[in-house]
Symmetry: C2
Subunit: 242 residues, 2 copies
Amino acid sequence: MSRPVTAAFLVIGDEILSGRTKDKNIGYIADYLAAVGIDLKEARVVPDDEAEIVAAVNALRTRYDYLFTSGGIGPTHDDITADAVAKALGVGIGEDPRAIALLRERFSEADLNPARRRMARIPQGAELVANPISKAPGFWIGNVVVMAGVPSIMQAMMDEVGPKLRSGAKMHATTLDSGGHPEGDYATGLAQVAQAHPAVSIGSYPSFKEGGGFKNQIVVRGREPAAVEAAAAAVREMLARL
Amino acid sequence: MSRPVTAAFLVIGDEILSGRTKDKNIGYIADYLAAVGIDLKEARVVPDDEAEIVAAVNALRTRYDYLFTSGGIGPTHDDITADAVAKALGVGIGEDPRAIALLRERFSEADLNPARRRMARIPQGAELVANPISKAPGFWIGNVVVMAGVPSIMQAMMDEVGPKLRSGAKMHATTLDSGGHPEGDYATGLAQVAQAHPAVSIGSYPSFKEGGGFKNQIVVRGREPAAVEAAAAAVREMLARL
């Protein structure tokens, strides 16, 4: 089986850290990558600050197979992601004729003012990522994929990029309800199952039930369906013995 | 005016990165800290992996005034946050009699099995953070505050911790609607206002309107209300000139 393909996700934007905007992109990307067989290993949120973006881009792109980013590619002064990514990768950046052509599908020459032309600033050597919603493209350079922050646009860009990603074997997951058993009653047994089934990862997740009390779910995840099923069966037997 | 007080937030848990659970804690902490006058400067999500937790804790606690964490303090084998934090700080960890006493409020001696006793493992020198919901405490050691991952429990723990935090001058924010003007029309003017008002930060945030089209909001943030108001007035005048 091939080595797992890994990724990190970087959310760029003061508005997430100030609480003004609630991030919805981390959860979306997590689902998307899981579905295509890429392991999301880390996510970060950093402000619209060049040094912070450069540091995070370099820390993450060198460590994982892919780095996806969202946010900071609009026309206003706080949109500095493209320049920061170019700086992180040590490449030049300038107005890209392909991006200008895309913007011209939406804006007349007169409306394509200097601010809007900023959205055509693309690092040298990057491929564009089409934006079917509002035209201003994202881009893909090296292993870094730069997307918009508005969730619907990011999702559309991810659909452009997804089919081109190298992916690994998909994770298979089985979720079991603990059947009313509290975590503390099955934790020791679950740890034994986990130890006996090293090919899978097993997590236990409490949440509140409507109407009060905890509901506990046990999730068995792994790349080989047979290994997941064997571990899930062992969890079921362990729960039945309680 | 005193130096701003800064913080980072670390979400610990495979379930966020796999997409199984959608994080709600980053947005909550962002709002909470903004309200008490602490600047959230960075957020990260890492898996239930000791080396990853240790590295993130050390990167963040040394850089910001506070590090808050959520997740990984339950009774199951994947709950390794307390041990990882002790390792990151280079202190010992063991069963804390104060934590055992709290757990005894909920569990009989017979029910306080080895798995549940794991929830009383607290790094040496830490203060406990009370958990009014399910008793198993969080803790506070140095500048690191360790809380549960279940949102309602984390929020209750934050209420315990909040009044004891050193905080700075609160941020004041004014939000202006662009009045239908697209970002590209006001970006240049907004950048000029931002440059003329260095005491505030100005962001522009597009989102989709119900029924189609973009809605743009401009947010002016700063620690001095007069500076925020002056910059907001300048933004209003700039928009009126369009």
